[in-house]
Amino acid sequence: MSAAASTPQLAPMHVGERWLLRACLVLPLAALVLFFGVPMLAIAWRSLVQDGGGIGWGNYLALLDTPGVWRALGHSLLLGGATTLVTLVLAFVVAYGLERTCMPGRRFVAGALALPMLAPSLVLGLGLIFLLGRNGIVGKMLGVRPEIYGFWGLLIADVLYALPQAVLIVRTALRQGDARQYDAAEVLGATPWRQFLDITLPQARYGLLSAGFVVFTITITDFGNAVVIGGDFAVLATEIYNQVSGQMKFGMGAVVGILLLAPAALSVFIERMAAQRAGAGAESALPPTPVRRPGRDAAFFFACMAIAGGIAALVLTVVLASFIRLWPYRLDLTLKHYDITIAGGYAPLWTSVWVSALAACLGTAMLFVLCFGIRRMPGRLARAATALSALPVGVPGLVLGLAYVFTFNGAPWPWGLLYGTAVLLALCNYYHYHTQGFMTMMTGMRHVPATLEDATTVLGGGTGRVLRDVYLPALRHTLLAVLAFLFMRSMVTLSAVIFLVTPSLPMGAVTVMRLDEAGLTSQAAAFSTCIMAVVGSLALLLHLATQRRAAHARPA
């Protein structure tokens, strides 16, 4: 980074420049405070509003007397820990297979891994029930009635849900390798196994840690999977749901929500400390090119195919079920489930696309400007922004959606105007995933060559030029990645939007929930397939666009 973190002083610049830079940092920060900080305060306030009226710690005290909540907390921690362990092992196997071996079918594995991100989490649960339920395909084939509900089903569903994100992080870590270290070790006499233990693992250490904390946090805040396949295994997220939807007790719900923040905040804090110690990779590091090794490649091929195949089978089962007349009794194929006329028909799908596009564009633009501001103006404000940006990941969507209702419904002009609009919905979806977007953008920013920035400045370029000619080209990949991520998440997220949809502003994920609740499971599967198709097409388009740009950028 060009400026030393400890000196808040900036090099001399035009007054206009300075204000532009300040705006870059202050405006997104203000938005973060308004659209995340204030709603969180509203929730904290609610947790103090007691049932019988009055303000106090009544709800917190009641917590001590509710065995259900402590049991749910224990369950959440157990589930979080188990999921993290399993996911890290699987993610490392897949990431290593994709980055460091010559195993065949890498594109299939990478593609299959993206599938769980394309659909509402309902799809994973449904697929598991279709496949592994008591009356599922596998059960029928083997003649058993496996017990998929409860801890084990939830574990599988959460692992599949978290795996794509974990693999992404570990792959990035593995790409930071230095081929020459392996050469040095090779010549010194180290076997491939020793090289793995002494070079690969330690180097991937921080990537694994970072992935671990992301997995833990998104598991304990997840609500969709727990509802579908959790069975009687109560977790904190469903506990909030019980309080808020089951018993209409917002105070208790808010308390449980805040309880949930603690492990999430802790894990993010620890990860941040670890990341600082990890440091950056060597300037001239060359990532190692994989060498063909039949034995190892075959082993990884089978392992990765099993994982990828499992995921693909799950999702494809749901797609298939959308075409089957009456699962599991009448297995002929039909298109009738695609004729959806209730719950708003297909209109919510297009509303979702439009809201998600808004969330993606707004979110990417704000993240870009915010990270640029933090980089160029290090100091107290930047540190505050970084700290605040780490919090949204620990807030379950349900709590965030509720918080938005409390904050913006009936709020004074002009904020009150936002309630019930697509903009607010888009902002809610963006801020729900702000942390992940922020981390990706900051990582990308670190790779912007500081010397190029300096050269442009000396040549006479102001902040605008630097943004346009240095940052945007260098960050193209990152920007597209964040854009795609926010779009995909916004299309499929459910828990936050339940409280913000209106008759004129329906969302696709809510429709899936409504269809499923109405007992029209096959229609829910059909609608989910449509969502997956839309999201998948966009992901593919963006992927092709980056490939083409990369091809153009390659020297002739």
């Binding site: 009687d232 633009a365 509720l402 019930g420 609009t421 502003l505």
Partner: protein, 341 residues
Amino acid sequence: MRNRSSLLATLRLLPVLGALVCGWSGAQAGTVTAYTALEEDEIKEYLAAARKDMPDVDVKVLRLSTGDLGARILAEAGNPQHDVIWGWALTNTLDPRITALLEPYQPKDSDKLAAKDKAADGKWFATTGYMAAFCVNTEVLKAKKLPMPTSWKDLANSVYKGEVVMPNPVSSGTGYLQIAALLQSRGNDEGWKLIKAMDANVAQYIKSGSRPCKSARAGEFAIGTSLAFAAMQSVDEGYPIKMVIPNDGAGYELEASGLMAASKNKADAKRFLDWMLSPQAAQLYTKYKEIVTVPGVPQSKAAAAAGLPADLSKVLYPVDFAKSAKDRDAILGTWQKTIGR
């Protein structure tokens, strides 16, 4: 470039946003926003009929499950966004925080309703009701050679161990109405004893009220206690399901509607509420719900299919909904302590 183009894109959308914002304010004449927990099929058909009968009124509907709806209404209590509550579980409607939001309004023809089907202070009235029923998967019964259950007491029979699923009363209104009915009809001691006995056979307490039926019809479990509507729908679609209304006190719930005090279009909202009691609407109710409070309609299709007598008061235990609403916290607390999973 991207920065500017996304900025431009957003700017271009402002007029559209403006339209959405204005559209939201709901002060337009002729628009009524209704929050409802009625079934999707019902909503579609009722709205079509309402549009025919009142072409100048545009009814916009937000449908959420019983529990979610309550949370939404309460969350927005400071500045409600809807004009009427339409067809929502009475037990939930009776929560004092909700009734505080309602304005008394007695629609035309409401004097035809029995006293128990409307509020004394005119804040709500019930047009329909639903009963609890078992969804029994005949294929699974056959495969496992189990007898057909006919009553709640039957469910305590140990042959059904692990094959029964019930809704979780803490999160599901249906679940609550089932145990509330048991407790009121049998008294606390006997009621809890039966609930505990059944608990031994229950494989899971499922979050939503309709999912036990879905699990049963997919063959995951033999018996799912749910709503009559869910059972009927499964039979209609062709699943191997038999609907069984327990003969020892089927629980039931009334569905209430009311006018919101903060409504911005009270004139049209009142017309809509009036329409709910009209004979055309009542005819439609018989297609979907077993209990229709509007007199002068033939027995509902569903009740006939279940083999219920025309006069339902013979089989329904007269549930005291006010008591049910008041005791809710205590009952759920006890449930969580004794059964709680």
